[in-house]
Symmetry: C2
Subunit: 623 residues, 2 copies
């Protein structure tokens, strides 16, 4: 019988049992510790890398030696390294399985639970001839408030008597907004209202507990894939504007209902709906076409945070509750960026740090430690799987990780839910493109090199690279990346990279000076930072300085839902940001074209990644 | 040619020309000074009495001598007294023609014009790349506000550009509520929402000028004539409550539209609608059936002042404006009483004063100088002309003054607008009943004495006293007071008088101690205090202590519309009032029955009036 050993995992401090001689991956998986693993334990994808702090493992395999060149000597691939003694490891952020990661796990920011909505249990005395105070005032006196939603007048008398004056009062920032039974709780929803994807989070406002997360494409997408086409549609007539507003509200309503159903609560008990989105999404939600944001001098309709009764928007939530939107900065730097900064605390750094939000509108913020600048660029919906041949959102059945073997014929992939694939989401597409470049299936200009792999075939004259054959998929149709898909991703990543480089130049910063790069984005699952750098979507910065905060927009909206104190800070952030209009930067067009190369026309910008790639290939070849 | 003389009128200080030997009435009428005059200059009705301060007039006629017994030696009847020298007179309140009297003329209260709504003319700069602040913030910065109606987001951008950034901002108590053209003005409406009659006042909020006054019966009246039957109907189902709410809102909407039409303004420019009414009317307006106000312990749904967006009630006013209701005191002491007190300043007296509001619900307030008590009683709609054989509201064609000659056959009357009559309004009914009693046509129990006048006839078995014959009226139908009408008025006046006497007893006050009696009421034209005392509707108090404030409820609502400072005082008044529930006063029932007598079963309570009446009759007879 093999010796029992222990694997201690930092920083959590938990530990699992292991048998001498089994691989780290086997031991961890048996104990339920989720680790990325795409190539099925072949040492190819590098996604199961862990950092070994102490203890004895088997000698590195050839596959591992290649990845150690990329990651560092202290890293081992869990699928290759066999356990020979008690050991202590650290699972890097990129290797931990990241499905359905939300606020608490992704954003390090801590804050006290102090929602705007409070439920106060009251034990009121019934009226008598000696004390026949009005029903409403009896309530207001008990909660020490003077302000109330006038809708309450319609039912306060019946509510008090039905419940024998034993009620709970729902109070929104000092305003009485509902009278409910003592068992009732108050809920709140946070939304990342993205141009392509809308993500909702449902919370119990008493405990701060997350009850449900749901996402769907923004129904406005049928009116245009980017903010400019949305603006064009909405500003063509009052009716079309109303249609657009209805589309996003209907998206929110479906998500509210789905979440409420999952959590088995009544939508009427949702009293606070905090929506984070870019300025155009926020404008359309509140009924402005943002027509003047589309042309110089790029004037947004409003930038203040807005608070509006749910009933006024036809929102399927408590009629007396509020929908609130975040402070905005400019026509293209919106509440989503403020949210990203709020949860990453980018604004608090005194040394250079940056943030990239990968959405349909990509946003980049650089804080030099003294000054904070931001720019927005049109990346399009491709990174969210929209408009891509087999693209889909990061839900069950989506290929979220891809690795291609050196033979250019073997493709490893993992789907969300480990079910047969039916499409590919953003992180899968980035992986696929990075490995296609790594394996020489596309060149640095993004052109597919016909003939180098039997998976490179033509359909209707279009070149494409097959990720999954018909027989593997749940739909019976191939899943492939087309040449067109590659072009769309190139344009998206070029926009983001050029925006980043422009801001760095604006502040006279070198990439090497950045202490941290926060990466936010709602799309698919989380991207692999290595793949993103190979592709030139993210700049060439050591992986351990990259912090993925997940859906920062949704996390920020959640934080503001749960902690009213943070609103002041959000407004301070919005005031502090200086916006750089890329349209007005003469060099931007050229920067953009150079950035369409993979990773960039100027290879010196990606020296470390390119040299690591070289080593990885060499190691592979030598092995 | 007759000598030219001058008549100086105090307290205005104006003067008119007169010819030697003509009557004061002729001189005043020729110069457009409106004086009451019902009997056509016969010295019977006494309504043209004026106080002579200096100058020489003809010897008093026999008719005058009688009235001097009632009014005092210094009074002369303008229709009788001929001018013999320059004279100085004072026109008593009761003698001045009081048609369409409103706030400025009736309520002596002075206050600074400080409406909640202000219009600020702005000269904004257009956005540039250097200053591309958001449209909304450009506005907010200019007016120094942070709060705004979220509806503005929908049109702020277009509004600014359509007007080339030369706009007016409409600000409601620090909240931006509209963006309009520089020519636009802001208007406000004040309403007395009575159980039977609703009166609206439209004001220009910049100048404080009254633009239109309109009144109509409350459409809820078809669901019940008094507050209790309204409550019963409204509390029978949600649908019926909604129907009731709709009825009063539709009443307000019709009045808003009529007033806007008359003033030639757009209803959308009405941003503030202040509604004064009793607690039940206020509750129904805001959607509460007031079910628990109808039974002990008489709990009202709310007493706080309420502020609700016009659009939430479907009010035909500016969507971003507010409807506001006054603070209430209890289930039956409402905002109308607070309004009465506010405009009469009853709460400020340090000696005993009282107030009687003659509405469908009659309310009485007595301030001992130290303590202020109030009670409410069900008078019914009869005093407002509703439910009376030929009753009508005090509009053109309504008989508003009546006098009956000693022969019991000759009836003098005056109609509003001096057109042929089509009915009789409250003040006319009170005059008619008082003179019927004075002339012995009814006895002290209210019974008609068949045979004493040919005008006392029967129709379908019912006794009635004809005021106007078929040929005199515009409808071709008789106008008469039926025995049933007399009963209804007796019950109404008994409720009010008994309530008054109960409160006086509560505070241990004698009627003679009262320094002032304020009389408020929206019905018909103004009542004649002499008639009201003969009838026993008002207590036996010298006429010069009676101050008619007209529609105090409407005047108070107007004052609160025009001066936001007064709201605090209104709330203080509401807090200061101690309510006496007459239902819980054991002696009230008996008091009520005694008060049905004309003027009262206990004649000692009306000694001075009864003795004056005696003298008047005697003078007439002697003459």
């Amino acid at each position: 019988m093999p010796r029992k050993l222990r694997v201690k995992i930092l920083p959590e401090g938990s530990s699992v049992e292991a048998e001498e001689g089994e691989t780290l991956l086997e031991a961890l998986q048996r104990s339920g510790v989720a680790l990325e693993n795409v190539c099925g334990g072949k040492g190819i994808c590098g996604k199961c890398a862990v950092k070994v702090l102490s203890g004895e493992l088997s000698e590195p395999t050839r596959a591992e030696i290649g990845w150690q060149k990329v990651l560092g000597e202290e890293y081992r691939l869990a699928c290759q390294a066999k356990i020979l003694s008690d050991i202590v490891i650290e699972i890097p952020y990129a290797s931990a399985k990241r499905r359905a990661k939300i606020l608490t796990e992704t954003a390090s920011r801590k804050f006290g639970l102090e929602p705007a909505v409070k439920v106060k249990l009251l034990n009121l005395s019934s009226p008598t001839l000696e004390d026949n105070r009005a029903d409403l005032e009896r309530l207001l006196d008990a909660i020490g408030a003077r302000s109330f939603d006038p809708k309450i007048i319609g039912y306060v008398s019946e509510a008090l008597r039905k419940l024998n004056f034993q009620v709970s009062a729902v109070v929104f920032d000092g305003e009485l907004v509902d009278v409910v039974s003592p068992e009732d709780r108050a809920f709140g929803a946070a939304f990342d209202v993205g141009t392509t994807t809308v993500v909702g989070y449902l919370y119990d406002l008493t405990s701060g507990k997350l009850l449900s997360v749901k996402a769907m494409y923004n129904k406005q997408i049928s009116y245009g894939e980017d903010v400019i086409s949305r603006i064009e549609f909405a500003s063509s007539s009052q009716e079309k504007l109303a249609e657009m507003q209805k589309a996003v509200i209907s998206t929110l309503n479906e998500l509210l209902e789905e979440m409420a159903k999952e959590a088995q609560i009544d939508v009427e008990r949702i009293y606070d709906v905090v929506c984070s989105g870019n300025s155009v999404m926020t404008g359309l939600l509140l009924g402005n076409s943002c027509a003047y944001a589309a042309k110089a001098p790029y004037t947004p309709p409003f930038t203040s945070p807005v608070k509006v009764k749910c009933r006024e928007l036809g929102l399927k939530a408590g009629a007396t509750g509020y929908l609130r939107t975040l402070p905005l900065v400019s026509a293209y730097i919106g509440g989503d960026v403020v949210a990203d900064i709020l949860v990453s605390e980018l604004h608090r750094y005194e040394e250079p740090v940056a943030l990239i939000d990968l959405g349909t509108n990509g946003e980049v913020v650089v804080n030099s430690g003294e000054e904070m600048v931001a720019a927005s660029c049109a990346a399009g919906p491709a990174l969210e799987g929209y408009g891509i041949r087999d693209g889909m959102r990061g839900v069950e059945g989506a290929i979220e990780s891809v690795t291609i073997a050196e033979d250019r014929e073997t493709v490893y992939y993992r789907t969300i839910g480990n079910v047969p694939p039916r499409g590919i989401c953003g992180s899968g597409i980035i992986d696929a493109l990075a490995w296609m470049r790594l394996r020489g299936i596309i060149d640095e200009s993004g052109r597919m090199k016909e003939g180098v792999s039997s998976r490179l075939t033509r359909e209707n004259g279009q070149l494409m690279f097959i990720i999954a054959e018909e027989e593997e998929t749940s739909t019976g149709r191939k899943i492939a990346i087309s040449q067109k898909d590659v072009r769309k991703i190139q344009l998206a990543k070029a926009a983001v990279l050029a925006a980043f480089l422009t801001l760095m130049r604006t502040l006279n910063l070198e990439i090497s000076e950045l202490r941290k790069l926060f990466v936010a984005g709602a799309f698919g699952n989380y991207i692999d930072p290595f793949s993103a750098k190979v592709l030139g979507l993210l700049p060439d910065i050591p992986s351990d300085r990259i912090v993925q905060i997940g859906n920062g927009s949704g996390a920020g909206a959640s934080a503001l839902l749960l902690s009213k104190e943070l609103w002041k800070e959000a407004e301070e952030i919005a005031r502090k940001i200086r916006v750089v209009e890329l349209n007005l930067v003469p060099s931007f067009r050229k920067d953009f074209i150079n950035a369409t190369f993979i990773p960039h026309r100027d290879k010196s910008l990606f020296q470390s990644t390119l040299s690591a790639v070289e080593k990885l290939s060499t190691a592979g070849k030598k092995g």
